[in-house]
Amino acid sequence: MRGDYERLFGQIDHLEPPDGLLDKIILRINTERRRRTIRFRIGLFGVLAVTAVAAFIPAWQELQSEMAGSGFSQFFSLIFSDTQVVLTYWREFILSLIESMPILGITVVLGLVLVFLASVKFLVRDFSAVFSRSQLIKTN
């Protein structure tokens, strides 16, 4: 009996999908994939930017105390108070300055600033991509 009805249903015309539908689907999937990537990137860079700002405060405080402890500030202030002496013994002065420099603290602070700036740069780029796409959809 099933064969009978399958034969019967075989009489019904099957519609052909509109031309270009397959390409439209693939395009939509690619758009969706891009949107998903952008969403992920916005989340990632957002978290990075916030983390960098949050970590900057203790890192800066740490750098300040390191500078005070190592005598770097005192050496540095000689440039303004005893310029003549600094110029005479500039090699020794630079060496002392480098030795007393809190390298780790400065690296951390600069690293955090760089992470923050890079995150903001990528966030702006991703947001503008989302914004221009939504504008494009609106105008279409």
Binding site: M1, R2, D4, Y5, E6, R7, L8, F9, Q11, I12, D13, H14, L15, E16, P17, P18, L21, L22, K24, I25, I26, R28, I29, E32
Partner: protein, 191 residues
């Protein structure tokens, strides 16, 4: 040369072979478009919904249980997407389409349904020159539930078990709707 199975294509796609998904889409484009069209009766809407179906498939393909049949899964997505569309468009019709079968499930499987399948179609039916139009008319006069079951069984070649999984109804309800649909269809065709 044997055709790559759906499951093989999915595995290929999941392991990074992008064109495998295109091939899968190409394979199901026509059946899904026709399936969706049966719900919407509009080419434009069918096109939009078909796009949504494949985007939804792409979104959830990682969650697809590869022990199950892909065909049943994609048609289930198509059914749900179509019903969502119908629900947004015509809330009243949705209730007809989704069927309040839970309530009537027990009573719908009556004694009549336990009888053997209806007799084959008489030859005169096939001899009718206007069979195609008559069939389309007959199908459109059927209740949505019966029509869906008949189409899925005879047109899309799903088993009752698969249709029951797809529509979320018991197999007895599906068999019952199939039987009633066949009886009504035969009645209309042999008039």
């Amino acid at each position: 040369m044997t055709q790559t199975t759906d499951e093989e294509l999915i595995k290929k796609y999941l392991s990074g072979d992008e064109p495998a998904f295109r091939e899968l889409t190409e394979r199901y484009l026509k059946p899904i478009y026709n399936f969706v069209y049966r719900y919407t009766k509009s080419g434009d809407s069918a096109e939009d919904i078909t796009q949504d179906v494949f985007v939804n498939v792409w979104k959830s393909i990682k969650k697809f249980d590869q022990d199950k049949k892909f065909k049943t899964w994609i048609f289930t997505i198509a059914k749900n997407t179509s019903l969502n569309w119908v629900k947004k468009k015509k809330p009243l019709l949705f209730s007809e389409l989704s069927g309040s079968d839970k309530k009537n499930e027990k009573e719908s499987y009556s004694f009549e349904d336990s009888l053997r399948d209806p007799a084959p179609l008489p030859d005169e039916v096939f001899a009718n020159a206007d069979l195609k139009n008559k069939l389309e008319l007959a199908m459109s006069s059927l209740d949505n539930n019966y029509r869906a079951v008949l189409f899925l069984h005879y047109n899309d070649h799903f088993t009752f078990q698969e249709i029951s999984e797809m529509l979320g109804k018991s197999i007895n309800t599906i068999k019952s709707q199939h039987r009633r649909g066949i009886v009504l269809l035969k009645k209309v065709l042999t008039v």
